[in-house]
Subunit: 303 residues, 2 copies
């Protein structure tokens, strides 16, 4: 979790998601991110993975990489905003740089936004990005057989929707090795959808019908759900719903990441921040990657 000083500052921001609070979160961590891409990491910017103006992705590769697991980050922004990176901002290059610094190939993608882009556009864009990665990430040092998607907030919803909608998978295969879902919504409530959600889904009934929970769990891809301590109650409820569904499927606790001391946005902004010993998300990502990439163990002793 964050240092005591950062944790106090984050706690003081409460759990509401509001423009001024999002800006405060970004300012809290911005000074802790290096202004430039570190030496030893090469970046390919704005690779075109589809026909839309926002169908662009950046690839972060550590020097000499070959066949490395690939982390594909899908940003949040409530369906209506957000980007893979903005000039002068460390976000979300921080995710790509962290991945490359830790021996992975990092990819940050952006995608079409509502109201121009409507459901299931976000999941379709992920499918297109995966098709691009399957064809091209090998040349960038990545192993296309080991792509892990990390979605945050609306990005987690797009990612979960991609997993749930087998009809959208390239060549009818999910094409990923795992999925990390930071503060997503998996089961929409017909009541109280804010305008940005309705801008993407059309109306509350469409959002409910699009809920990815059942399909996500049925897809069987390894999942790591995460929720931040200071996430609004909605995201706690949604993480719990996913944990319940995974327990019902497997009869065992899923790996779940409780991001102590963080809020809805700092849970991803803190990744790769310098001068803090906060490896909470980094640790979970590393563990999850090790779990899904570990060579099969010897057969367990009979139980």
């Amino acid at each position: 979790m964050p240092s005591a000083q950062l944790a106090r500052a984050i706690a003081a921001l409460g759990s509401e998601i509001r423009p001024d609070i999002l800006a405060a979160c970004e300012q809290l961590y911005a000074p802790l991110h290096a202004a430039a891409i570190p030496a030893g990491i090469s970046v390919v910017r704005d690779a075109v993975y589809g026909g839309g103006e926002r169908n662009r992705l950046d690839v972060f590769t550590p020097a000499g990489a070959a066949d490395r697991p690939v982390l594909l980050f899908v940003h949040g922004g409530g369906f209506v905003m957000g980007d893979k990176n903005l000039p002068g901002s460390p976000y979300y290059d921080n995710v790509g740089v962290w991945a490359a610094r830790n021996g992975f190939v990092g990819v940050t993608m952006t995608y079409g936004l509502a109201p121009a882009a409507r459901y299931p556009s976000g999941a379709v864009d992920i499918a297109s990005a995966l098709t691009w990665l399957h064809a091209h990430v090998g040349a960038q040092g990545g192993d296309p057989r080991t792509i892990v998607v990390i979605g945050q907030s609306a990005g987690a919803i797009h990612a979960a929707t991609y997993a749930a909608r087998a009809d959208l998978w390239p060549d009818a295969r999910i094409g990923i090795a795992g999925m990390i879902l930071l503060s997503g919504v998996y089961d929409f409530d017909p009541e109280g959808q804010p305008p940005n959600v309705l801008a993407y889904f059309g109306d509350p009934a469409a959002a409910v019908a699009a809920s990815p929970l059942a399909g996500l769990v049925a897809a069987g891809v390894p999942l790591l759900p995460a929720v931040a301590e200071w996430d609004p109650p909605l995201f706690h409820a949604q993480a719990m719903a996913l944990v319940r569904a995974l327990y019902a499927r497997d009869g065992r606790m899923p790996h779940v990441a409780y991001l102590a001391g963080h809020n809805h946005l700092t849970e991803i902004l803190h990744l790769n921040a310098a001068g803090t010993d906060d490896a909470i998300l980094a640790g979970h990502i590393t563990e999850f990657l090790r779990q899904i990439t570990m060579p099969a163990a010897s057969a367990p002793l009979a139980v």
Copy 2:
């Protein structure tokens, strides 16, 4: 989680709890623990906290400590075996040393065993140990207002029982700041209790009646439930039951520790092991301590 090599070795042991497997776990980590207590840590052995032969505890204090949070470790062993430490074994000095190395005062206690000791003897022993600590741990560098109990397996059951049974609390106060419950049982099933459980509770109905879940949740003390990836299904079910109960109480996900790559015993044996980057339990303990000891934040903005 463990290194890839250790993780494979642990996975190969499966999830059954059996004497030969417990021994294999101990052997796996024993070479990674220093033979001697490191310089800068003083140990008081076998402090007498009660009238029973096994009412003994060890205190591990870092040099110059004053008012440090106190970690009280309650070992497992299925109610019928186990000890705070055995000659020639690094367990569970590893817990006390880890605590002291990380700025806490570590305490390892042992307690009466079944069949001589019967329910609620384990919880009574914890109450006595806490009474001793409240009186004496200040002189050992500890802060008696910040005692966190860490129970493992049967030790977690004794700890949970202590929290649930306000009638056992010294001076009618729980006297602890938090509780970390590694692979405990909180809600006993009337079916299939093994002989060691019956040796402590008497009969299945008594075990069911003694289930601490409701009282534990009602006590309101900060909790960190944990389960190991390779724990038997029983412990996954019990962790899930506690998570469900805490969610029902609070309307939010509790901090829960999923100990990836570990089994029922390595989840505690790995603590303080050298030559591995495995800080999975250490990270959770540190986060939990920071959460419960952090000075109150400014009032959150209105939400």
